[in-house]
């Protein structure tokens, strides 16, 4: 039993989740004096903080996206490291979400809480795998917190894409994927499946792919799409941000097959809404089985749920004798 329970020293404030004795925020939504950042996605990592503590990779991603002066000062940490700040012991472990994604366990006067950020449990060649950390409270995301969300093995989904490429060799295959994490994982998995032709990139992807390569992740040959090759991409794979799938940029490609790599593609109406021909159920978030497995692996007596569909996961947790509540972050405020 914890001597001081994290609920006594963790608050949710308009800026984000706040650790009182440590005087810092975790993934704050607004500029603050001191922030711990779990990973580089824009809804977690913002520019303009005073001091940012994050993994070397996450700091590099933030610098790549926001410029080198994204924070007044930075502190780089590595997986496995422990440090003390204002009496808080901070332990860092990989979260398996994207390159550099980290979980932070905060221990204070005998009580502990793990902020896992976004995470997944399956293998990803672009980042280190999730490591369970023991704690009194486990804070979990619930992006895909409904039992209908089961992500198939990624090999199957990559197989669908390669099969379509065989079937329609005269059409360009345009895949919508997040520029950070998803795109690079997709490319690595294509390579593992034996696809060694160049992969073409929308301009918004180029810098982050280069950064991944600098961290030693082998993406094979990648080229930006430009005016010279645009009309010659029949039978090639092109990766772009989801928002570019149906914009003018995409309409200049040759009769593309529109694919989209996302966990939401599991739901037909969602895929249809986005006018996707080839839905690929690929996600960097835990699916329902991974979420519930993680609660059981960690075995923390208390669960705080954030990010997405809390209701079903809270129900599951209560069925399985966990004390569970929604950690309502302002940016995800679902209902009053």
């Amino acid at each position: 039993m914890a001597l001081t329970h994290p609920r006594d020293w963790i608050l949710t404030r308009p800026e984000g989740v706040y650790c009182v004795p440590g005087d810092f925020y975790i993934d704050p939504a607004r500029p603050v004096a001191r922030a711990l950042i779990t990973h580089g996605h824009a809804d977690h990592a913002r520019a303009g903080h005073g001091n940012v503590l994050a993994t070397t990779e996450t700091l590099a991603i933030m610098a790549c996206r926001y410029g080198a002066d994204f924070a007044a000062s930075t502190q780089a940490v590595a997986y496995g490291e422990s440090l003390n700040h204002n009496g808080i012991d901070i332990t860092i472990a990989p979260a398996g979400h994207i390159l550099g994604s980290a979980q932070y366990r905060l221990s204070y006067q005998g009580g502990s809480v793990t902020f896992s950020g976004d995470y997944k449990r399956r293998a990803d060649p672009t980042c280190e795998g999730f490591e369970p950390l023991e704690a009194d409270v486990f804070v979990t995301e619930a992006t895909f917190g409904l039992p209908v969300f089961i992500h198939p093995p990624i090999e199957e989904e990559i197989g669908k894409l390669l099969c379509s490429l065989d079937q329609f060799p005269d059409r360009c295959h345009l895949v919508g994927a997040y520029a950070l994490g998803k795109a690079q994982r997709l490319i690595c998995q294509l390579r593992r499946a034996g696809y060694d032709a160049p992969v073409y990139l929308h301009g918004a992807m180029v810098r982050l792919c280069r950064l991944y390569q600098e961290f030693g992740i082998d993406l094979g040959t990648v080229f930006p799409v430009d005016d010279n090759n645009r009309q010659r991409l029949a039978g090639q794979i092109v990766i772009c941000p989801p928002s570019a799938l149906h914009d003018r940029w995409a309409s200049r490609l040759n009769e593309p097959v529109t694919a989209m790599a996302s966990g939401w593609m599991r739901i037909r109406a969602r895929a249809k809404q986005r006018a996707v021909d080839l839905p690929l159920i690929i996600s960097d978030h835990a699916d329902w089985n991974e979420l519930t497995q993680t609660l059981n692996d960690i075995g923390a007596p208390e669960i705080w749920v954030t990010h997405g569909r809390e209701e079903a996961l809270l129900h599951y947790a209560s069925l399985h004798q966990y004390r569970a509540s929604a950690l309502s972050l302002l940016r995800d405020d679902e209902d009053d």
């Binding site: 409904l146 039992p147 209908v148 969300f149 089961i150 599991r266 739901i267 037909r268 109406a269 895929a271 249809k272 809404q273 006018a275 996707v276 021909d277 080839l278 839905p279 569909r309 209701e311 079903a312 129900h315 599951y316 069925l319 405020d333 679902e334 009053d336």
Partner: protein, 529 residues
């Protein structure tokens, strides 16, 4: 079963008609009888599996997955077949599945008590996408893969290199699994006999009346009628059966048993389907309450009985009238109506007009109607009944719209009994690439529609601001209003008087909604004129 599941899955994610036709043709060529015939029957909705019910599927999943999780999932997914397909406990899919014909055959012959175990065993062997397709066999709401009965017949025509009218004619002489139909299409057998069966006759459609060529509209050449705001139907009653077809050839008779009961004659009529409400014709909104109700209850039928305004006659017993002129057909129709007087049927009246101005006044007068009339129709007196939209023959001249198609931008939670629903809507029109909010409305829809809207809003939220949600700009409302005036107090510069949601256009892409210029054109106009 596996290839049928793949077909449905591909059809679902295929958007163009040509591509859909290609998929169907490939399937029909690669699949033997009787599988392909059952597939056609399932897609056309002509196969009934009485033991395979929605309630059975609900019971099966309830005994396997926690009910709260089922409800939350169903709320999100919005369709039972897909929800159950995803939630079904995963197994290793079987190496082979029984053929579609074997599955259908078993479901048709099993005693009722054996159906649940059989369905569960099949679900155990399948992947999620296969379960979805399989569960569609038990859904009464249609497949929703974007293939209408009429479209399927066009594909069959292409498959057998026949005219689509031949397929329509043959269709009613055959039944699932359509072995003799395929034999005929593949030139291996005779055409199925069907002379007295109630087949669909392709419909003649009108063009919108354009400004140019108005001088051709004279009382001598064109007859004028009201344009009713219902749905176009074809009533086919032959000695071998009767049917009520929509414009696209789907038989909707099941939704209108009151009407079918009144169909006791041998003729093919063309008309408008509406409902009566409180003794007069109701609006399209009233009619909507009866559309897509597979089995309407008696109360609903009594409250909103179906009405037909008849305006053309294609066949009188064995006489095909389609080659006659409009005036001749009209003469036949009037005499026939005077003789037969089917209950619930009324003759569309011919409007008197001596010149174009008089016609315009009729059109304006249609604005005063309670919403069952939306303009005038003009039909060339010498026009034969031709399939399609032949030029210069029939025109529709809709009344000026005091409606705009606007895009939903924000939704706010309502009050009182609506406090748990997002029921107050702010909508906007396009100006360039941006939407400008033009007004707010919180009524004009039914409670069932409110639930649907609420679901949609929760699944399409971009941002929340307290009780207000900003949503994906993807849903179009037809907004009706009494007048529009300039206003300095509104961001868009316009204020609507008495705006209300007149229709929810689930079908309309947001980029096809109206622009600010469309609203500006209605400035100062007040209804009714």
């Amino acid at each position: 079963m596996r290839s049928f599941a793949r077909l449905l899955d591909r059809l679902f994610y295929t958007y163009g008609n040509n591509a859909k036709a290609r998929l169907l043709l490939d399937y029909l060529r690669a699949t033997p009888d009787p599988d392909r015939g059952y597939a056609i029957a399932i897609i056309a909705g002509t196969l009934e599996l009485p033991g395979f019910k929605r309630s059975l599927v609900r019971d099966l999943i309830a005994s396997r997955v926690d009910p709260v999780l089922v409800d939350l999932s169903y709320d999100y997914v919005g369709e039972l077949a897909e929800t159950v397909a995803h939630l079904w406990p995963a197994n290793q899919p079987a190496a082979t599945l029984p053929s579609l014909a074997e599955i259908v055959g078993t479901l048709l012959t099993l005693p009722k008590s054996g159906v649940p175990d059989y369905v569960a065993a099949r679900l155990d062997d399948m992947t999620s996408a296969e379960r979805w397709a399989f569960l569609k066999l038990g859904s009464r709401g249609g497949l929703r893969v974007g293939v209408s009965a009429r479209f399927l017949k066009q594909v069959l025509a292409q498959f057998g290199d026949r005219d689509v009218q031949e397929i329509e004619t043959a269709w009613h002489g055959v039944a699932p699994p359509y072995v003799e139909l395929f034999a005929w299409l593949e030139r291996r057998g005779e055409a199925p006999a069907s002379a007295d069966l109630p087949f669909f006759h392709p419909v003649m459609l009108a063009q919108p009346l354009e400004a140019q060529g108005l001088e051709r509209i004279t009382p001598a050449t064109y007859a004028a009628e009201w344009k009713y705001d219902g749905i176009r139907v074809q009533i086919v009653a032959r000695t071998g059966g009767k049917a009520i077809y929509s414009r696209t050839g789907d038989d909707i008779g099941g939704s209108f048993p009151d009407l079918l009961a009144a169909v006791d004659f041998d003729a093919v009529l063309d008309g408008e389907l509406l409902v009566a409400k409180d003794g007069r014709l109701g609006s399209f909104n009233d009619l909507q309450q009866r559309l897509n109700r597979k089995k309407p209850d008696r109360q609903l039928i009594e409250r909103l009985p179906a009405r037909i305004i008849v305006y053309d006659m294609l066949r009188d017993a064995h006489r095909d009238l389609r080659g006659l002129t409009f005036s001749e057909r009209r003469g036949c129709l009037e005499a026939w109506m005077a003789r037969i007087r089917p209950s619930g049927f009324a003759l569309s009246s011919i409007l008197d007009f001596k010149d174009f101005d008089a016609l315009s006044r009729h059109r304006l007068a249609s604005t005063d109607a309670e919403g069952s009339v939306e303009g005038v129709m003009l039909k060339r007196r010498d026009s034969p009944y031709l399939a399609g939209r032949p030029a210069g023959m029939w025109y529709k001249w809709k009344r000026d719209p005091r409606v705009v198609d606007a895009v939903l931008m924000y939704a706010q939670r309502g009050h009182g009994k609506r406090s748990s629903y997002y029921s107050d809507y702010t909508f906007g029109l396009w100006q360039g690439d941006a939407l400008l909010p033009i007004g707010k409305a919180y009524f004009g829809f039914t409670d069932a529609e409110l639930k649907q809207l609420d679901q949609w809003i929760r699944h399409n939220t971009l941002k929340s601001f307290g009780p207000v949600r900003e949503v994906t700009k993807a849903l179009v409302f037809e907004v009706a209003f009494d007048a529009v005036n300039r206003s300095a107090r509104h961001k868009s510069g316009f204020a609507l008087r008495f705006p209300r949601i007149s229709r929810i256009r689930w079908d309309k892409p947001a980029n096809e909604a109206d622009r600010m210029a469309n609203l500006e054109a209605l400035l100062g106009s007040t209804a009714p004129r």
